[in-house]
């Protein structure tokens, strides 16, 4: 009923100085108050059709928008009024959309549920959390979508990191070759490369977290303004930070290992003189 009747309600502000005996109060949302220039104490007429006869009511309260994701993209105004008044205005009779029931205890909720459903006809009782699961399906879809994008980003990052490590290590192949000629073991060299890549990954992820946090501030500021809601659209949690850093570390160590092993697999003299490079290019171009 709520959604249907809200669509039917038309609010007309009237001269607030006109004296009317005992009008009832309504609560309107802050967007309607801002857009229609209404404040507490103003008198308005609510009717079920445009320009139709209705009831004069007083704005008794202004509701702030809820951080409700399901209402984010919806642009309707919201108002709350006394049930019997809305039923009368909308011609709905003695009907409601739902009852919300609070029980004294958790076990009490289960028994109440069973009792209601055993006698229900034309309606059913549900646990609030079950309703929440159903109504949050939209956001589960969005979450899955975000996760898929995240996976693709991680794959791209892994390739990028591996490419960068390969480049970095290749650039210093002569230094590494000289170290090997001096007697430094392959193991030490690989370990050194992995430490370097791990450091790059950790530093990079720290910068990324900072960047992500700043981005989340901008996103929230922007979308809160667009949708006029207190909802948080992007949140950086400790868990997310831990995941990002851990993933970066794993990718960095992996990239370092692969790059290092590739390098120590070549004879040091070839690395120094570039012979392997020439041989490869000759083979490739032939």
């Amino acid at each position: 009923m709520t959604a249907a009747l809200i669509a039917l309600l038309f609010v007309q502000a009237i001269d607030s100085t006109s004296p009317r005996p005992g009008p009832r109060t309504i609560a309107i949302d802050d967007r309607l108050a801002a857009d229609a220039g209404l404040k507490i104490g103003d008198r308005v007429v609510v009717a079920s059709s445009p320009g139709g006869l209705g009831d004069t009511v007083v704005v008794g309260a202004i509701m702030h928008g809820r951080a409700d994701p399901s209402e984010v993209a919806r642009s309707e105004y919201r108002a709350r009024m006394h049930l019997d008044q809305l039923q009368s205005l909308a011609g709905y009779g003695d009907r409601v959309d739902r009852f919300a029931i609070g029980t004294r205890s958790e076990p009490g909720a289960d028994s109440a549920l069973r009792a209601i459903n055993s006698v229900a006809f034309g309606f059913r009782a549900h646990r609030s959390r079950d309703i929440a699961v159903e109504t949050s399906r939209t956001f589960l879809v969005v979450s899955r979508f975000h996760r898929a994008i995240g996976v693709i980003t991680i794959v791209a990052s892994a390739i990028f990191l591996l490419c960068i490590m390969l480049l970095k290590v290749d650039e210093r192949r002569r230094d590494i070759a000289a170290l090997r000629l001096l007697g430094i073991s392959n193991r030490s060299i690989i370990r050194g490369v992995m430490v370097e890549s791990a450091l790059v990954a950790v530093l990079g992820s720290a910068m990324g977290v900072a960047l992500g946090w700043i981005a989340s501030l901008i996103i929230n500021w922007h979308y809160r303004g667009v949708y006029r809601t207190p909802l948080a659209f992007a949140v950086v949690t400790p868990g997310i930070v831990e995941l990002a850093v851990a993933l970066s570390l794993v990718l960095g160590l992996g990239a370092g290992l692969l790059a290092g092993r590739r390098l120590v697999g070549q004879p040091p003299l070839d690395l120094l003189t570039g012979r392997s490079e020439s041989r490869r290019s000759s083979r490739a171009a032939a």
């Binding site: 012979r275 490079e277 020439s278 041989r279 290019s281 000759s282 490739a284 171009a285």
Partner: protein, 230 residues
């Protein structure tokens, strides 16, 4: 004898940290067309810098360089590049061949840049490689050639566009004595066929093969004498 190269009061200074290094100080040098000049001196005396100034790959801090009547020191980069392509040939100590190109393709490179048709440049490259004794190595890449062979290819490349002047910086520096002797003979033949050569070298044999020897020290020419060709 006409003058091909006229250098007047050439100087070149570099900043190395806080120090100002005078690599070449007020060098004046005339080179006749068809001459064969060796510039010798201890390491750091400025001979390679002088060669670079003569070839237009470096700009002097002072003085002038004329090659065939053209003021090389005043040319814009694009003009100097074109000048080097068509009028000057360079040979470097480390050969600097393109590793992925064959000997033939390395010689073709400056011809392609000069917009010579493919047929003509292949023919010219073959001719040059035969001239330097590498007719059987056309399709070999630098990695498949010895040091001496690579330097021959480098000389062939330098001669591709028939330059009037060939500048060589330590052409025998990376070669053994036997190969070096071959290189000296080749350069002699190139000069005998009409190309003016200026070579910078530590190699006494190469210096003796030249018609004229210029000694440098501390950025100055300290001696300049003609000598008979061997």
């Amino acid at each position: 004898m006409t003058l091909l190269v006229v250098a007047r009061d050439l100087s070149r200074n570099y900043h190395m940290g806080d120090e100002l290094v005078h690599a070449v100080r007020g060098v004046s040098l005339d080179v006749d067309d068809g001459d064969y000049l060796a510039v010798v001196g201890p390491s750091g005396c400025g001979k390679s810098t002088l060669l670079n100034l003569l070839g237009g790959i470096d700009r002097p801090s002072g003085g002038s360089v004329e090659i065939g009547g053209d003021r090389v020191d005043r040319m814009r980069d694009a003009d100097a590049t074109r000048f080097r392509l068509l009028r000057v040939g360079f040979v470097f100590q480390r050969f600097y061949l393109m590793p992925a190109l064959t000997a033939l393709e390395n010689v073709e490179l400056p011809l392609a840049e000069a917009k010579v048709t493919r047929r003509d440049r292949v023919a010219r490259a073959r001719e040059l490689l035969a001239y330097v004794g590498l007719a059987a190595r056309l399709d070999h890449r630098p990695a498949q050639l010895s040091g001496g062979e690579q330097q021959r290819v480098a000389i062939a490349r330098a001669l591709a566009n028939r330059p009037r002047l060939l500048l060589a910086d330590e052409p025998t520096g990376e070669l053994d004595a036997h190969t070096g002797a071959e290189m000296i003979a080749l350069l002699g033949r190139v000069n005998a066929d009409g190309t003016t050569i200026v070579v910078v070298t530590h190699d006494e044999d190469l210096a003796r093969a030249a018609k004229r020897v210029v000694h440098m020290r501390d950025g100055l020419v300290v001696d300049d004498r003609r000598q008979d060709a061997p």
